[in-house]
Symmetry: C2
Subunit: 329 residues, 2 copies
């Protein structure tokens, strides 16, 4: 039998999806940033869960407070991509036995900080003993079912845009793990991306309300991966004319001899939004984004997948990124 | 600094509760079987999360399918105690790297079976790599905020009742762990209690609708613990006139020389409901329960805590049970 290493996260999700089937009330099931069930003619309940695991999701040097905050941020980011404001959350903790009371206080403080930042209450939870630090957050929201922005709405001709430059998280991780830098030796953008990532909630809500977005995904599995997901879900190709690389990632790449575009494309845990926009509503989107939107390409029916047009040539961008169990990055 | 062993689950929850504070929308926070937030004048969203961890919540001999099913049952049981029907759920998985594809199929199948048994969809989730098998379920429901049955509503004079006899899970665990029995050597009630526990959802819904219940809690932390929680939350004492011990637990106790009442009182992961009933509505409760309700005592203002009246004497029932990190059972 294949082990999880062979199966990968996508294989696992496929098995679960098949086992669980669909249900009359389900509006969005597996395969998008969130799930949604119908609760009235117009309204859907939006549900999201994302689990942070100590041994795989916590970079060296991260405090318990930062880890707990990040667990919430990862969930908020998915709602941000859908243009949905979280109403409340709950938290299930798996705590190793050797943690101290101070560690627990830090976790509480990180959860509280994130809840405050994004303006919703964490109203309950469950605590357990576990071999691996586990912070499993579930968020709940109510949305207008017709206005939910899925991964599947991009159409040929739509402009592809992102809410930030990429590569900081990836560069930060490589600095720690491969270049053996200490956290304090990281440049500020790399440090912030690793230890204090931010979800683009306000921006996501404004973009959602602008009426310009046809599809959206959060970039937490990496830019290339997210573009491929948009492409697959929307049945369009994506033709990039640029790769949005952050200045700090470029500097790091130059100093340590990495390919800057790889840092930007194949990282992960970088919480920007990747969206497709109606050409006719571009102005509204840019106004809503207040300078935080950057076009990087266009959706096309010429091919499927993701390609970069550069100097007259088309380079195929691989479907690679952060996938648990496979660790391709 | 105290470690989690000293702090215990209650100490951890207290720290989290203090860190997270309360919020204007919160109707039920920490400290009940579920949490609830207001979503309209009358309605509340009911949220529940409970995490199953391989190293602490899975008895020897349990299959992955049974473990996944049990993870759902534990969550449904808490909604059952509140008289609330689950609308949908989501699941976050932490899977050890060495699991096989078959293991994942079993987990999918166990989740699907539970969702079918209790009539709601599991609509999405998240998969992760972890050192410890982790199945974190979150359930969502909508309820009339005025009709939610909390732990805090019991009044002096109310009748205390349970929906089943206790001791099977505890006896089953002791048979495996202390008497070194194999699962196939367990009597059927012990086997079922350990590997195929059932949540009393239909019964909980019927009792909730009967208008007889003033307070309710699920007994998953043990009978004594649950009675103490009702007592504490409702500011009443509970005077027991009997301990509801299952026949199979009695037989096991006799054969292997255990105290049967200890098996019934201080076990855990036994998913009955412990309720308080208005005397004036007793008939309605019994009718709703269709023979599955057993009175065991009365709420009183004479003392706080839990006591057993036996042969003219009052025996204090200790506040003991299943608490993670402390492992008192």
């Amino acid at each position: 039998m294949p082990t999880l290493k062979v199966l990968g996260e996508l294989g696992i999700v496929k098995i679960l999806e098949r086992a669980l089937g669909t249900h009359a009330l389900t509006v969005v099931g597996f395969g998008d940033d969130i799930s949604a069930v119908r609760i009235s003619r117009r309204q859907v309940a939006v549900l999201k869960t994302d689990m942070l695991v100590g041994s795989t999701d916590v970079p060296p040097g991260m405090t318990m407070k930062q880890a707990a905050r990040k667990a919430v941020v990862a969930n908020v980011s998915d709602l941000a991509a859908k243009g949905v404001r979280p109403l409340a959350g709950i938290v299930a903790l798996g705590l190793p036995r050797n943690l101290s009371e101070r560690n627990v206080r830090e976790i509480g403080s990180g959860l509280a900080q994130a809840a405050k930042e994004y303006g919703f209450p964490l109203v309950g939870g469950d605590t357990n003993e576990s071999k691996d630090l586990t912070i499993s957050i579930a968020l709940f929201a109510i949305a207008d079912g017709r206005r939910l922005i899925l991964r599947s709405g991009a159409e040929a001709g739509n402009i592809i845009a992102v809410t930030g430059d990429f590569g900081n998280t990836s560069a930060g991780l490589k600095a720690l793990l491969e270049e053996k830098r200490r956290p304090t030796q990281l440049s500020r953008p790399l440090f912030q991306a690793l230890y204090n990532p931010r979800a683009q909630l306000d921006l996501g809500l404004r973009l959602g309300a602008s009426g310009a977005i046809t599809a959206s995904i959060d970039s937490s599995d990496g830019l290339a991966w997210s573009l491929h997901e948009l492409s697959k879900s929307s049945h369009v190709g994506i033709k990039l004319d640029t790769i949005p690389i952050s200045r700090a990632a470029k500097e790091f790449a130059e100093q340590y001899n990495y390919q800057a575009s790889d840092l930007a494309l194949y990282g992960g845990e970088e919480y920007h939004l990747v969206v497709s926009l109606k050409q006719s509503r571009l102005a509204a989107a840019f106004k809503a984004a207040k300078g935080k939107l950057k076009t990087i390409g266009v959706a096309t029916r010429e091919f499927r997948g993701v390609r970069l047009s550069q100097a007259g040539k088309e380079i195929v961008i691989e479907r690679k990124g952060w996938e648990h169990f496979k660790k391709q990055k």
